[in-house]
């Protein structure tokens, strides 16, 4: 029996606005608990929401980037439920009149290129956060996040594998980053993903009971959770126990590597959606859409093509560099200084990525300005220091913020490019290694490699390798002919 997997995603992204959706509190992450709150976002009786226009503009921008139809008039609704993380006992969201409908994202995996359709995008407020103190029965509430603007992006059930789901989320994330829509920090929860998954026999054209998966906080967890749930459902089908697949929400437990039931359809809440009468309709006219369209930045797909054509980068390099908005901007700033694109890509994908990972920094937090890296690359290209020394200098620049010239001077890393000095070192090395010399004369060519190593060591790595090799070869020729 072969099966087809049907996956749809619901993605929540926190919008990059300075203030919250309905009040002027900062929307930033990382403040002290309940520091970013006011009577409005705390739902103090009598207070009323006022819609943040910046958030509306970002939602429209998202819609334009994702090829959606923008609603000329949409409406905010109330979703009613009791839970301490929503201080008003309702979330202000959009129900049947969302701000964007339709749209799509094109994805590429090693197997397929495919267009994934979107169902809708709507605007809503985030909830606060509950912190349960272990073994004390006490829970604390932090309302800093309450009222932070979110968009929810809902796909059609167009994805056919965990790999496609990950490819979609990566493509979407990069588009949202490019558009300046959201920070998309999955680990901080500014980008969150839920997945709906069901199976069907290959060739069928029906939608079977789907299961909703929650707590998918990284690409890796999304991949693993979907693969796991796919397998779980497949086993049930194979054993004729598909009746045990019920419409429910399952939580992915990353540590145990399995999904566990959270709630079934029977205990689904009745949210009693109805229009939010404290806010008027959200009206978006064509002029505003035009205005927003004019501010749309270059999207990853276009940038990929440009990087291929303009800089001659390889697909794999492009995927990584353009896949990350900050990296691609860094790369362009670097080449704008005059760095050769190939060298630039090598530096970014090599030493830079390694150091970012070591320091746990994001690509937006590179401590070495592009013009400083350019200077370093120039020093190396001019042969003033070796590549090995260059890497050492870069790591020093990365850690201390000092510039390349100072570090090179202070550490005495400048290469020895002085012929007479190099000749003296090489003479010493040859005198100390007569055996290698005779090996070479006897035709063992790798003796030269050994001697080069000795020369580098004797010069403490500062010998200009090209020049040193030239002199060594001259000397070896002389030695052989003189024998």
């Amino acid at each position: 029996m072969s099966f087809e997997t049907i996956i749809g995603l619901e993605i929540h992204a926190e919008l990059n606005t300075k203030s919250k959706l309905f009040c002027s509190c900062p929307a930033e992450f990382g403040a002290k608990p309940n520091e970013n709150t006011c009577p409005i976002c705390l739902g103090i009786p009598g207070t009323m929401p006022v819609l943040n226009e910046k958030a509306v503009i970002l939602a429209v921008k998202t819609g334009l980037i994702l090829n959606c139809e923008i609603a000329a008039e949409s409406r905010m609704d109330r979703k009613n439920y009791f839970y301490p993380d929503i201080p008003k006992a309702y979330q202000i969201t959009q129900y049947d009149m969302p701000i964007c409908r339709g749209g799509y994202v094109d994805i590429e995996t090693p197997e397929v290129s495919r267009r994934i359709r979107l169902n809708r995008i709507h605007l809503e407020e985030d909830a606060g956060k509950l912190i349960h103190l272990e073994n004390s029965g006490v829970s604390l509430i932090d309302y800093n996040r309450a009222g932070v603007p979110l968009i929810e992006i809902v796909t059609e059930p167009d994805l056919r594998s965990a790999g496609e789901a990950v490819a979609f989320l990566k493509a979407l994330k990069s588009m949202l980053e490019y558009g300046g829509i959201s920070d998309c920090h999955m680990e901080q929860g500014s980008l969150r993903c839920d997945a709906n998954i069901s199976l069907r026999r290959t060739g069928q054209n029906i939608l079977n009971t789907k299961v909703e998966l929650k707590n998918l906080n990284s690409f890796k967890e999304l991949q693993k959770a979907l693969e796991h749930e796919e397998e779980r459902q497949k086993v049930l089908y194979i054993h004729g126990e598909e009746s045990r697949i019920v419409q429910e929400t399952r939580r992915w437990d990353g540590e145990k590597g399995e999904t566990v039931p959270m709630r079934s359809k029977e205990d689904a809440r009745d949210y009693r959606y109805f229009p939010e009468r404290d806010l008027g309709p959200v009206i978006i006219n064509d002029a505003l859409i035009r205005e927003i369209r004019e501010t749309l930045p270059e999207m990853p797909m276009t940038r990929k093509k440009r990087f291929r054509d303009l800089y001659g980068l390889r697909d794999k390099e492009i995927d990584i560099i353009v896949g990350d908005k900050a990296l691609s901007e860094y790369f362009e700033a670097l080449t704008a200084c005059g760095t050769n694109p190939r060298a630039g890509a090598n530096w970014i994908l090599g030493s830079m990525m390694k150091l970012l990972k070591e320091k746990g920094l994001k690509t937006g937090q590179i401590p070495v300005p592009p013009e400083e890296l350019h200077k370093l690359i120039k020093i190396i290209a001019e042969g003033r220091i070796s590549i090995t020394a260059g890497q050492e200098v870069f790591s020093e620049m990365f850690n201390t913020g000092r510039n390349a010239g100072d570090i090179v001077n202070e550490k005495g890393l400048s290469q020895i490019s002085n012929r007479s000095e190099l000749k003296r070192i090489i003479t010493d090395v040859l005198n100390d290694n007569p055996q290698s010399l005779s090996d070479y004369a006897a035709g063992k060519k790798q003796a030269a490699v050994f001697l080069m190593g000795r020369i580098m060591k004797a010069s403490k790595g500062k010998a200009n390798p090209q020049l040193a090799r030239e002199i060594l070869e001259e000397r070896l020729k002389q030695e052989i002919s003189s024998k």
Binding site: P45, T47, V50, K88, Y90, R277
Partner: protein
């Protein structure tokens, strides 16, 4: 004339002319309150210290020769569902018995900017749900005209204290008649402005699409004065008017009603209406004709469907608005719970009164899946139709006349056992809220039993100017200043 008998206008004038100080005014009103409040029970909180401090500020302003605000030195009472920074705001509910707002409602801010003196917070039906103020969790307010009679509701406290001379002005809120009906019952002037003319920010919401704050006053001019001070755009209320209205009603209030076209909807005078009320209103119609207005009967067949639409919509909105009272962050919390669900359930069961719970359940039901279309959606459609009908009528008429209440003020306890009968007393007022129109309730006669009778004048959207003009002209004819309770 003692100070407490003066109108708001007269008080401000007296202070400006230095006939008496603002402090004298506050003292006079508190003397009156100490004497009469035990008989009326109109207040839930008194703010004597704050009032005296404010009065001293005003007196200093006068001494320095500074300009006094529109409501300079006028003692005003505020309904207890309007938030006052640092002053307890209870909604007459056990749920909020100790709630002290951390901010001022926009209208309160505007009162303060206009140099009004807030003297206290008034009793009401719990969360403004009721028509007799008997749903207060704390006490029954008595009608100053007869202490066995209700003051109406839900702004019963505000109407009673103005009527009893314990405040020169008061603010109330009107979701389905809650300013106009108590004004009629207590023989004062109550205005429900056009939806959006006065900011709702800081009004603890009952039905967000219907609620509107408005003044209760001794006469029409005082009412217009108070509206001038509180009206206009507020950036904290997205449903408030977009344009900044700075209408000055005084310049037109005394102009003639000659040629004014007045419609009288016959459906508002059907068999359910008390005969004495009908008689009084007919008297008013006659007077208006005498002074040159053009009055004729019209048909507006909306009263009964309006009432059901109103109860569904207001309860639906209330069920959501009152969700936040869960005992977690503020307000009443049950003593006895062992889980979060139990805490919320018991706090709400114990903190809310019967009428509030009845409406929350009604509203929850009307919004629940499977019933939404039959109730909430249908009610919204009715509402749209009612609004359309009014707008059409106002193409041909300047204002409409109707009764405020179908019944005369009733006895305390008379209708508590029968909520449906109580709901029926809103039949002539709720449609105005559904349509978002302005309407004013003014005294127009006295019954054989010695109780006030009210007349309702309804205007087109933002037609307050017309209301005041017609009401003032009629007031001059009726001389209702002679009408005040023998307390």
């Amino acid at each position: 004339m003692s100070i407490h008998e003066m109108t708001a206008f007269e008080i401000r004038k007296g202070i400006v002319k230095r006939q008496f100080s603002a402090r004298d005014v506050v003292t006079a009103f508190f003397d009156r309150i100490y004497e009469k409040e035990p008989l009326v029970d109109g207040f839930l909180t008194l703010c004597r210290e704050e009032a005296l401090t404010k009065a001293e500020q005003i007196d200093r302003k006068i001494q320095r020769g500074e300009q006094l605000g529109k409501l300079g030195g006028i003692p005003i009472a505020v309904k207890d569902n309007i938030c006052t920074d640092g002053i307890r705001t209870t909604c007459a509910s056990r749920m909020l018995h100790d709630f002290i707002p951390p901010y001022d409602a926009t209208v309160v801010k505007r009162l303060k900017e206009a140099d009004a003196v807030i003297i206290g917070k008034t009793n009401m039906d719990e969360f403004a749900m009721g028509s007799s103020t008997e749903n207060s969790a704390f006490k029954n307010t008595k009608n100053p005209w007869d202490r066995e009679i209700v003051p109406g509701g839900s702004s019963g406290g505000s109407a009673a204290v103005v009527s009893a001379g314990m405040a020169a002005l008061a603010l109330g809120s009107d979701t389905g008649g809650s300013i106009r009906q108590p004004a009629a019952f207590c023989g004062v002037v109550g205005l429900k402005p056009t939806y959006g003319l006065v900011s709702r920010f800081g009004l603890i919401a009952f039905g967000s699409s219907l609620d509107q704050i408005g003044p209760l006053a001794k006469n029409i001019k005082d009412s217009a004065l108070a509206l001038e001070a509180i009206q206009g755009k507020d950036k904290y209320d997205s449903t408030s008017v977009r344009h900044s209205i700075t209408k000055d009603y005084m310049s037109t209030i005394e102009s003639s009603v000659k040629g004014m076209k007045i419609g009288v909807p016959v459906e508002f005078f059907d068999s359910g209406l008390d005969e004495e009320i009908a008689f009084s209103i007919k008297g008013c119609i006659k007077k208006l004709k005498e002074i040159g207005a053009f009055v004729e009967d019209i048909s507006l067949p909306i009263t009964e469907e309006g009432l059901s639409a109103y109860y569904i919509i207001s309860s639906a909105e209330a069920s959501s608005n009152l969700g936040r009272f869960d005992g977690l962050r503020y307000g009443y919390r049950t003593k006895d719970y062992s889980s979060l669900d139990q805490l919320v359930e018991r706090s709400r069961s114990e903190g809310f009164g019967e009428e509030v719970k009845r409406r929350i359940m009604l509203g929850t039901f009307a919004l629940s899946s499977g019933y939404y279309d039959a109730y909430y959606s249908t009610a919204q459609k009715l509402r749209a139709r009612i609004k359309e009908q009014f707008i059409k009528v106002f193409e041909n008429y300047d204002i409409l006349l109707s009764p405020v209440s179908p019944v005369l003020p009733f006895k305390i306890g008379e209708k508590v056992a029968n909520p449906l009968e109580m709901y029926l007393s809103d039949i002539y007022t709720v449609n105005i809220n559904l349509a978002g129109l302005p309407a004013i309730s003014m005294p127009c006669g006295i019954s054989n039993t010695g109780l006030p009778i009210g007349l309702q004048i309804i205007g087109p959207h933002f037609g307050e100017e017309k209301l005041f003009k017609a009401a003032y002209a009629l007031e001059q004819e009726l001389k209702p200043t002679a009408m005040h309770p023998m307390l």
